[in-house]
């Protein structure tokens, strides 16, 4: 190898490292599948194999192509069934299902499929995909006191009717399964689920290390 080739390959090496590093640096804010252990350690464990996406019975998990960062990591684009009986949720079915909830079988196939533990085995009580929020300016319940589909479909009783006839989300009860968002008849979705934690996306490098260590401490 001559000198020119050597310099070129070193330059290429540094450029590729820089590209790969920069494009993986910024934290993306998307919903991850159930069981994801915090955004930082999730991204460091996920090998983007999309087994969770292939196995999801509702086809709700999709590779995330919304931003240039963390391309291919799975995101919950559709809704999560949580229970095997709720693969096709409807308001009436879910209302009837609520009584049999305690003995019903959980789905969590994505967690079982994950080869690296980016999705961790959890109990139902620990499930927190995100938190639903109601947009009062478009919600039919707040505008015309009708609809209430989200109230019917939520099997966790997280969506409640308030005194004025509007709906509100009880945040501790909400698991963020997105079934309410799926059933919402408003085109731009008056009820929408956002990620549970909203840390600042900056200082990713330092945060990463701290986040991982903290996780090891807890477990």
């Amino acid at each position: 190898m001559n000198r020119r080739g050597f310099i070129l390959s070193i330059a290429g090496f540094l450029m590729l490292t820089a590209t790969l590093t920069l494009t993986n640096l910024k934290e993306s804010k998307t919903l991850r599948p159930p069981g994801a252990v915090g955004e930082e350690s999730f991204l460091s464990l996920c090998i983007r194999c999309n087994r969770c996406a292939d196995i999801c019975p509702t086809k709700g998990i999709k590779p995330d192509n919304s931003s240039l960062f963390a391309i291919g990591a799975p995101t919950l684009a559709g809704y999560c069934a949580v229970y095997l009986d709720l693969i096709e949720p409807t308001p009436s079915k879910n209302r009837a299902f609520k009584k049999a909830k305690s003995s019903a079988e959980l789905c969590f196939r994505c967690i079982a499929a994950c080869p690296t533990g980016a999705l961790k085995r959890i109990e139902l009580e620990e499930l927190k995909i995100g938190v639903a929020e109601v947009d009062r300016s478009t919600c039919l319940a707040w505008l015309y006191n009708t609809c209430y589909r989200c109230v019917d479909i939520c099997v966790f009783d997280a969506v409640k009717i308030t005194g004025k006839g509007g709906v509100e989300v009880n945040e501790p009860l909400c698991v963020g399964c997105k079934q309410c968002e799926y059933i919402c008849p408003v085109p731009e979705k008056a009820i929408a689920v956002s990620p549970p934690h909203s840390d600042s996306p900056s200082k990713r490098l330092g945060n990463r290390r701290l986040g991982n260590r903290r996780l090891e401490y807890e477990s």
Partner: protein, 287 residues
Amino acid sequence: MNLKKLIQRLRHVSQAFFFIFFVFVVVGTVCSFIIGGFEIIEPLGALQILIANGVPQTSLIIFITATAAFITLTVILGRAWCAWACPIGTLTEFTEYLIIKRGFKPMVERGSKTLAAVSKDRVWNKEVKYLTLGAVVLSSALTRTPSWCSFCPIGTICRGSVAGTLVAGAEMAVVGAVLAANVYEKRFFCKYICPVAGLLTLISRVNLFIKPKVKREECRSCRACAVICPEGLMVCEEKTFAECTKCFVCYSKCPYNVISISLIGRKISYSPHHNRRKTFQTSCKRH
């Protein structure tokens, strides 16, 4: 149909089978999938996880056996993965076929160059893929993310089916670039850049089985093998065959039919140069 054509037919059937298997059928992608109850994890993904996160937070036994399965296959079969199963390899060969069918030649082979000149004129060095591997490892350590996985064209192809269409997102640009690079030189990405190929080459250095064998006394040193071989190996002078993808194209296309396949190949001894020239001269005299 003779064996030379049959073996290439078989390879194309295997490629088509695995392409359909990985893109449309299997749960997961090449990175990690289940075949017949066996978990398999592709070693580059596993390596990046180890670097990015330390210990994976899953049952370690499955993780280790799944990675070891792929590594064992590579030790036994060498880089056979690249030529017989890899979806990007299949697409690459298909584009290559289309390019040649339309009457184009890869840019390296153009002009009135002789075969020997083509192999000498290669600007790119095959060690570049170790640099890519190094860059992937370094940036995985820096960002604590399996950083290659977001870009990996192999993973992209397999994930595409999940998104509904094969054209999903900006990542397909990488696949496009990989396929377009074939215009410059055949299997450009696999030969020079792919970090998976780099890792598999490192592993297959200990591989002993299924290697091309050159009949020394009949070889005329035409060096066509360096252009025929998709990996750009000079088969008649190669010693270790760590980069050999077991595609048997050299066996099928050698102009003098001097390449055979030895199943249990010890390291093939390289006969001294003057010896071969002598046999070449004697064979010339005979004609």
